[in-house]
Symmetry: C2
Subunit: 427 residues, 2 copies
């Protein structure tokens, strides 16, 4: 066998996966181990150019154990979630042959081979930007490619789901629904694509990363406590969400921004309402989050029709969605007016991502920010023109994006091709 | 007639009414004009020595119109709520004779006589401490006394309800239930006393008046928007509250502090959850409110059994209820540890109300506050020992108290006995 004859080969695969933001929220599991949700959810996949995880997976007879590095630092793979993903992928592995390099792996061999995994987020891991969604999606996707798993994307999503629930939605680009399913094994609790990223490509997304001194409740703990104690969550999941899912699908299908915005905001607020109805109550939004909502609501009301949708996950960061570039520029002007940087922050480290939105907003220098006019909707109201410098750490301008991709260029790999250990150049 | 023969007499009545804090919340009307609620609510009446409204009502043939002064400043009586209370009381007025002063008013005369009303809160009106509840209760109670209305207290509560919903609960001391009623005229939407103030007289109540830069949504507007837009409110009012009311009645009856605290906290949180589920969302609690809850939850969890109940009305102020003086002293120590005054605030203007609790807490000087030890429940957690000076404006120590009382001492009157105009000495 090739496995025996030549033990120094390393087989690698590198992939990139997007993160996603739910517009109808997932909150609550009916099965903790399999990560089966109590309701469907819908998300928008974010452009991986601005927010993504890159993962290289490698296999070699010379590896003596499974190992993983996240952002260059070794982390334990002993947790059930990693183990479950690895086991599920290995059990579906196919034959791999690389004649040129003399590699021949039969599907029965995968259980004996160890893997090295290196993963890297192009955004701060701890900032509450769904890094685990992108991370597990990328892990499962890259392992599936490496091990020649011939399952359709939906089946892969059910594996990623067992790493982190929302990860299943990162297996697709554009607009994605996670169907809760009925089966007790979770086989039908999978992600399906509602529309690809080109379907509604005018949308612009601006993320406000909000400064916080608070240590947050993990979403795993939070949703377990909500399921156990919130009288409102059951009603939400059984009565409210099913209707909202249909309405949201229709809004996406018809690119009806007003409905999309209304549903997105209402669902975000209801998710946080359920957190508050939990005992002890969970607070993910802080005063800055509340202010962002108030300003957006004021603007929407002033214009008579929704200009912007907002949504907040399990943390204080705001994800703001504008229907097109023009409105996005007006949105960014408002955000920078209310939430300018602290005096020692440079513009280029304050607004990240798609710089063309910054230019459209007429912001070239920090002075342009200081010169921003008071938005008309608050002109008659002194209290509202207060500014809160430093309350937002930075903004990221992005858009809906595509699903996972495999890199064929070996230069993208995060593991050294001959040692199988992390490259130190990134980070 | 006496009315014609001698026109310079003034007949006055002065009463004092307490404020109250709901432990099962009222949020949502089924009839806006009559102020009929969508669920029962239960409150604790607060000791009027620390929080009350004093109102003097006067009637005289020489008054040419109805007039009212609140805290010495004239305010309009043209609003529907005042008009309704005045009309309801006048329609039930009885005969009044004061032989000594030669006054004889037949019940048919009241419609022709104008009233002067002076009202004074012994606490800041704008601080969100239910001043309208105490105010309308006192208005209705004092007018009823002046006009010799022979209705039982429950009937008066139905009149006060039309001024401000929660005012109906301020017609009684101790623990009070506002029964939502069924009748479309509101005749059975009245307050009933569950237990008087002596029933559970160990309880100590500490109010934290939280500093806020936010302009808050009025509760009238807020609850209307919740009724119109919150999918969760209907479920709360029809499914959750009816069970909670029964449990709360039982907890009060048996003086079961653990159940009382659990229900009180859960109901406050659910009320704020519904506010968040409203479109646009309503935020009454701010970061300071959230911190108070987190500290109280941490303490309760550390002790294994609830030490303190918290509840928040339509604003950021916390109302904290301790089972007895010993726990109240420990509670005050914690509050002063986390939320000391700004450097320029004196102790005596920072902790108001029952000073014996302050003494029990071992606080005599400002230095005693600085010397407070870190609470054991946060000792191992550096993040939690952060202090927030100035985030609480002041504290008020109080307890459950009695219902409205009539003052027989004319020196208490807020209107001059010969002019019927406000005395200027108070305020």
């Amino acid at each position: 066998m090739a496995l025996e004859s030549k033990k120094d080969w390393i087989l690698m695969a590198t992939a990139r996966s997007p993160t996603n933001i739910a517009v109808v929220k997932y909150w609550g599991k009916r099965d903790e181990a399999l990560i089966l949700p109590i309701n469907d959810s819908i998300s928008v996949t974010l452009d991986p150019s601005h927010l993504c995880t890159t993962t290289t997976v490698a296999v070699s007879p010379k590896f003596d154990r499974d190992q993983m590095w996240l952002n260059g630092k070794e982390i334990s793979l002993s947790g059930g979630r990693y183990q479950r993903c690895l086991r599920e992928i290995r059990s579906r592995a196919g034959d791999v042959e690389d004649e040129e390099r003399g590699i021949c792996i039969g599907k029965e061999d995968w259980g004996k081979l160890h893997v090295h995994i290196a993963s890297y987020n192009n955004f701060p891991t701890a900032a509450g930007l769904a890094s685990s969604a992108a991370g597990f999606a990328c892990l499962v996707y890259s392992l599936a490619k490496l091990m020649n798993v011939r399952e359709e994307q939906g089946k892969l999503s059910a594996i990623a789901r067992q790493g982190s629930g929302s990860a299943c939605r990162s297996l697709f680009g554009g607009f994605v629904k996670w169907e809760m399913g009925k089966d007790s094994t979770g086989s039908d609790s999978i992600a399906v694509q509602l529309a690809d990223e080109k379907h509604w490509n005018d949308l612009v997304i601006i993320i406000a990363v909000v400064s916080s001194r608070q240590k947050e409740t993990s979403s795993t703990t939070g949703m377990r406590e909500s399921v156990e104690t919130s009288p409102l969550l059951h009603y939400r999941s059984t009565e409210v969400v099913p209707k909202r899912i249909l309405q949201m699908e229709e809004a996406i299908r018809t690119r009806d921004f007003s409905s999309f915005a209304r549903l997105t905001c209402a669902d975000s607020n209801q998710f946080h309402a359920v957190c508050l109805d939990t005992s002890p109550p969970i607070f993910y939004m802080n005063d800055t989050s509340h202010r962002i909502i108030s300003y957006m609501e004021k603007w929407n009301r002033f214009e008579g029709t929704p200009q912007v949708a907002y949504t907040f996950d399990a943390g204080p960061n705001a994800v703001l969605i504008a229907p097109n570039r023009n409105v996005a520029a007006l949105l960014l002007q408002r955000l920078l007016f209310y939430f300018p940087p602290s005096t020692d922050t440079e513009l280029k480290s304050f607004v990240l991502g798609d710089q063309s939105i910054v230019k459209d907003a007429g912001i070239v220098t920090k002075e342009d920010m200081d010169a921003l006019a008071t938005p008309p909707e608050v002109k008659d109201n002194n209290a509202s023109t207060q500014k809160f410098p430093g309350d937002v750490s930075y903004f990221i301008c992005t858009r809906p994006g595509k699903g996972p991709v495999l890199f064929t260029d070996e230069a993208q790999a995060l593991l050294h091709p001959s040692t199988g250990l992390p490259e130190v150049s990134y980070g």
